[in-house]
Symmetry: C2
Subunit: 208 residues, 2 copies
DNA sequence: TACAAAATTAAACAACCGTTTAATTTAAAC
DNA sequence: GTTTAAATTAAACGGTTGTTTAATTTTGTA
């Protein structure tokens, strides 16, 4: 699998990432990409072969450095509750900083057929699950967390809530009176982050 | 707003719902809809005006009875905790039974451009929020729920978790050893439903 | 039965799609 | 400086898109 791209190719990939994230794969034409990237329309086919192979190249380009970003939180010297807080902050910041590719993955690779093909994603997901498991088991051993938590469903709760919130951005901006995009971004990093942290902590600690 | 459709229109709406859910809005052509529904391609424009208005009509058609179910719940004679449980069950069953339209909403209305156009959806969201507000305020008045809950973020937590879980179906089927689609569906209605109920209740009740 | 409204049709419309071609320019190697 | 390969271009290709037209059929009503 090719993982190295020249300057021109990266230029195209970055523009494509932006446009795919904004308008979807089908909603973005090669002509739009070419115009935005200030290149001839034939260059996409010339460099990547086809529009679909451009998307494939983009996934490869982005997931290769996503792997490296993986950090090991579980060895830090913090109590389990602080670790949960930090884990959620990590989650949110990572998605925030790679909004484009996460959006694309979320949309274009949500069909079962596509999901099967992208085994690369499973590695990332498995590692995330392992990290969460380690932290929660530690908290359970210390008697802080309840024993009957459904650990595999923690990650969907965090990520799902985040995606759903930011995917209905226009609605929530109006509802929460967040006039600018900056205000929305700020809300995510403060109030919204706290909401998820509270939610997960409450789920882990609360005895019914 | 028009809410009544004749037989032919409903026939078109149902086919469109299926195709939009399968291939997306942009990925579905009027010609495909016409062929599948066994009508002339001009009939869509004739009955609905345009492709976009067809989508609008579909949303109106599918969300018109949701309103009643939600409002009935808030007046039922149950304590707030039971109402939350019922609300979440309602949410999940509602999405399960109307998978097609919810998939469309989830995917097509995530672009800001689309979201701006379709004001219809805002009414539905506002009504849902109102229902949740009523229930939570009742619980707060009775001293059962905490006062500092971020109510607008409850719905994204429920729906987001559900969507993210079912959108990564293939991964979770393997992870949770759910061999068949029926096993997956059953998992949603039992274990997964309980997880969300516990999560929301914990968030509403737990004092940190 | 006659007439008007509604429904349905095939055809054409202009615009856009992804891709390919063949000619031209640029860059590198000898 | 010449040769060769890579990069870039405008133009054209065949197809599909959503929508409109104008003619025809069906339907309901008086």
């Amino acid at each position: 699998m090719k993982t190295d791209f020249n300057e021109k190719q990266i230029q195209i990939l970055l523009i494509a990432e932006k446009l795919f994230a904004e308008n979807g794969f089908e909603g973005t034409s090669i002509r739009t990409i070419a115009k935005e990237a200030d290149i001839n329309i034939a260059m996409v086919s010339y460099y990547f072969g086809s529009k679909e192979k451009l998307l494939e190249a983009l996934i490869v380009y982005r997931t290769s450095d996503l792997k490296i970003q993986m950090e090991n939180l579980s060895v830090e010297n913090l109590d389990p509750i602080e670790k949960i807080d930090k884990l959620i902050e990590l989650y949110i910041n990572r998605i925030r900083c790679n909004k484009g590719i996460y959006r694309i993955l979320h949309f274009e690779f949500s069909s079962e057929e596509m999901e099967e093909k992208m085994k690369i994603l499973n590695d990332v997901r498995d590692r995330n699950l392992k990290s969460i498991e380690t932290i929660i088991h530690e908290g359970q051993a210390k008697g802080i967390f309840r024993k009957d938590v459904n650990i595999p469903l923690i990650s969907p709760t965090i990520m799902g809530t985040f995606f759903h919130f930011s995917m209905n951005k226009a609605y929530f901006k109006k509802l929460l009176k967040l006039d600018t995009d900056e205000a929305f971004e700020n809300y995510i990093q403060t109030t919204f982050k706290t909401h998820i942290q509270q939610t997960i902590k409450a789920l882990l600690i609360y005895e019914s």
